[in-house]
């Protein structure tokens, strides 16, 4: 009888943990800035590390997307085949990835929506805009988009950071945006958070 009860406790513990985890990725990254903006993650330094096990030889930019007010657009110009744009639920499940190596063109124009949101509402009126737009359906109304620029060599850090700074995340569709400066690098939470 104790074993059956143990089994039950075990199942409940395993299933409820993701709901209760206080320091999942979304919780840690929320400390860095508001939703629906591109935030550059500073290059790793001891004492300055936002998430455990981040790669020291990858440069990262992220956007905490929040779809409650509507779809969110993400635009980037992928400079090489190493880049990856990955989309996550708040606990870190990677439900969609744009793989630079598979792209024919460098420009990525995508919109993140919930399954109830319509893409037509999210774009400007021009049909050409819709043609090149990639629609990403998010299983949750909040999540994380993480752009990875793996360094193709030790001296490529500066150019990777510059390319990351040109990305956009927000509610403006492509035709409506004037070139906007990217958000400045955020001060990360201290390591061990």
């Amino acid at each position: 009888m104790a074993v059956v009860l143990a089994g039950l406790i075990h199942v409940v513990a395993v299933l409820t943990l993701p709901l209760l985890a206080p320091r999942d990725a979304h919780a840690r990254l929320s400390a860095l800035g508001p939703a629906n903006t591109i935030i550059q993650l500073p290059a790793l330094k001891p004492g300055q590390q936002v998430m455990p096990n981040m790669a020291p030889d990858v440069r990262y930019a992220m956007c905490l997307f929040d779809l409650t007010e509507g779809p969110v657009h993400l635009r980037a110009n992928i400079p090489d085949e190493l880049w990856l744009i990955a989309f996550y639920t708040p606990i870190g499940e990677n439900f969609y990835t744009v793989i630079g190596a598979d792209m024919k063109r460098g420009n990525v124009d995508l919109v993140v929506t919930t399954k109830d949101q319509s893409v037509a509402d999210a774009t400007s009126d021009s049909p050409e805009a819709l043609e090149n737009l990639l629609v990403v359906n998010s299983p949750s109304s909040k999540g994380i988009a993480l752009i990875r620029a793996p360094l193709a060599g030790p001296s490529r850090s500066f150019e990777a950071e510059r390319a990351l700074q040109k990305s956009y995340c927000g509610q403006q569709p492509a035709a409506a945006t004037a070139p906007t400066p990217a958000a400045p690098p955020a001060t990360p939470a201290p390591s061990g958070l």
């Binding site: 104790a2 790793l44 096990n53 790669a55 996550y88 499940e93």
Partner: protein, 216 residues
Amino acid sequence: MPLSGTQTHTSLWRDEGGTSMRALGYFIGAFAVALLLGIGSAWYMIERGSILTTTRIGPWTSWLSEGNPNADPYTRAHLARSGRLPLTSTAARYFMASTDSSGSHLSPQCEYRISGAPLNARWWSLALYDSNGSIIPNPSNRYSFNSEEAIRRSDGSYEIHLSRTARPGNWLPSGTDPYRNLRLLLRVYGPRVTDASGIGQIPAENLPKIERLRCE
């Protein structure tokens, strides 16, 4: 025979002395054991992994479905606790080592030779962390080696020396604290060989060997 059984049964419940207290004690004890077993086993499978979720190849541990949207509950719980954002296992694979190839814990008091060969993937990086997943401060500001920059032999193989004191060639500093717990993380982006579900595969013989050379 049922008569005597019934009599014993009723006497148990009628007895207001030691027997019912013992029964209560039994139930509390059983519940405590169940709690320990249930939560303990859950913790173990979430923290360390089990055959359901994790492969172990020599010193390397890898969660098969880390980051996958349809992962099993243990992998999801492990992911939520870790605070990490791994790429799904069709896009990347992650291998973690806390011991050398003979099974002894990695220590800054020892010196190791990590030998590897080219991996059939787009890019890889081998990085050193402590047990919290933080990079280790060192005067060279060197925390990892990757496929683009590791100094190699003409056949593409490489050696990385993991030690406290500087070594020529690829030197990965293990920091000044002799008691720090070390973790090596090999991340492999774009593995070109996959299994039937598209999960990236790195054959066991291609994973780096971690050989302990000497200790202080």
